[in-house]
Symmetry: C2
Subunit: 201 residues, 2 copies
Amino acid sequence: MAKRVTGPEIEKLIQLLAKVPGLGPRSARRAALHLIKKRDQLMGPLSGAMQDAYDKVKICSTCGNVDTADPCTICTDPTRDQSLVIVVEDVGDLWALERAAALNAAYHVLGGTLSPLDGIGPDDLTIAALVDRVKTGEVKELIIAVNATVEGQATAHYITDQLEGMDIKVTRLAHGVPVGGELDYLDEGTLVAALRSRTSL
Amino acid sequence: MAKRVTGPEIEKLIQLLAKVPGLGPRSARRAALHLIKKRDQLMGPLSGAMQDAYDKVKICSTCGNVDTADPCTICTDPTRDQSLVIVVEDVGDLWALERAAALNAAYHVLGGTLSPLDGIGPDDLTIAALVDRVKTGEVKELIIAVNATVEGQATAHYITDQLEGMDIKVTRLAHGVPVGGELDYLDEGTLVAALRSRTSL
């Protein structure tokens, strides 16, 4: 804004809201006004919840999930099959797979993918912790659910190499046509994979 | 999510973030994860700023602007022409006009528009306060900058009626083609207004 139109505390709130993904400078102003209008119903509770989460947030030392307890909700869930571990790049992927609710499994968050150009090597990821976890003998199957990118696939291969000779089943997500997807819009790589992995009707 | 995957504090943060305009359930999760990743750079400061704004926010008793001081930053700005008052529906409109930085004026926030169907009458808006403000004799021109909707125009007419006989100039925003707009996409009402209010080149 050209001139100050409101108090510095509100300007600061707008500036910080604009850094939240999904909000920009303009929607941050709209969000701030909405929060102020809903001061008691939304702004107060949100401010409290954020402070609470800020104080209590922890990274699970077993799987890398974000939680307020360590070990996390998933690692301590007795109804989950802790011998089936899905390896993901980050916590967002873990939460996305949980929304699908396909498997009642445990997870391992790598914290990224190998990327020599960005200076990210095996020591920057939780690969050693994953190998240690496998060595305890409690894990029977690892599902490598990294993104289908070059870095993701390189990471998957590196992990497989590290587990060489251990008594564990390692699988990866199937490639194929997304459910609801139209062939016309898919790239050749996906179509080749979908054809090769065709299943009988 | 089908099963709990994280602590209740973080679930609550996600739920409340999803109520912020511009964020939905999915982007609220992404926002929460981003806040947690940037715990010290963003989550802490944002939580503090929100609490600070929550504690200090005030509605200016003169103009209705949102601020942390009453009278607000605009009403106490000695470099502004306090005799020129722009009447707007809500604070978002005030801030939008300030971004345009066209006039160095004061404002009056109505708090909505007359809308008999929604049960909003003159007493629900700050029209009486506006009339009082004009009666002090310090205001020389009112620019009615309400939205170009039926309710906005009805409100403009009502205000003009209330000011009948007082020594004040009342104007409204010009109707016309938006700058950068294409004629092809404009409605007939706008084109008629733009033609009638044509200016010489």
